[in-house]
Symmetry: C2
Subunit: 167 residues, 2 copies
């Protein structure tokens, strides 16, 4: 009775029993499809939770591996420090530049000196204020700690002293 | 899934036509349940891919934020270097310790000196060999670069020179 593939059964006197059987098969097939999709969803949920954990672990390890040369070079600078104390400044300056290059490469460059710029809460964190008639109120008087990141994505705002109106 | 349980059609006196109508309703409900579960699976797949990307970004940012104090302290050590060159060694040593502490805290301690231990490819990477009759062949003659991580999870194996049989 292949004509019963369509969900709409044709009401026929002679086909009632066959139609009922075919309809029951159709229901069984639908239930099976639904159960399998539900099981797939359930498995996928569990797998996704694991994927997220693994992504974090991988990102952590790959990031830390990038930092190891900075540590190696710090160690080397310290090893040579006793033999040649003058060289350590140069060595440490190179390590610092290396660290800045890694951060910039990962999308978070060190922000330049923003002294004199208008205070902007998106990029600056005010740690104190200073009343000075030589400074424009509401501008950055002094950067205590540099910020990192570009305008779209700040990793850390710069810690700044803000100029206020002197009275 | 239980809320979508297939309702058993209740046997009713009204007859074949009502029963057929009820069965068609049952089929429609099942199809609907299946389609909704399939759509949910599809949405979940897309969301999971986004979750993985976001997890990586969050891990990266949170890890880099932890490294910023190391950079701040390197900068500070360099700023004071010209005024007091002797102090920089002490300052850099402190920064190095700080960096090691961060790595250890994240699960990757610096591995101690493994000179004299048996060469182990799980923890060591041989960069060269040395033939020396004072050393036991197959042991670590010298660590060129330290390894990081604990036995279960090595971030980087130590680069070592391996002692070989002298002939």
């Amino acid at each position: 009775m292949s004509e019963h593939q369509t969900p709409e059964p044709e009401p026929r006197d002679e086909g009632v029993v066959d139609s009922a059987t075919e309809t029951q098969r159709q229901i069984a097939r639908l239930e099976d499809s639904w159960r399998r999709t539900a099981a797939e969803l359930d498995n996928f949920r569990k797998r996704c939770a694991k994927d997220v954990v693994r992504a974090r672990e991988q990102e952590r390890a790959s990031l830390l591996v990038r930092w190891l040369p900075v540590l190696d070079n710090l160690e080397r600078a310290l090893e040579h420090a006793s033999a040649n104390p003058d060289q350590i400044v140069e060595g440490v300056r190179a390590v610092h530049q290396q660290a800045l290059a890694i951060l910039a490469d990962l999308g978070y460059p060190r922000r330049g000196d923003e002294t004199g710029k208008a205070f902007d809460p998106a990029h600056h964190e005010a740690v104190s204020t200073i009343a000075d008639e030589d400074l424009v109120p509401g501008t950055v008087a002094h950067v205590v700690q540099p910020g990192y990141g570009h305008d779209g994505e700040i990793l850390r705002p710069a810690s700044v002293v803000v100029a206020t109106r002197s009275e």
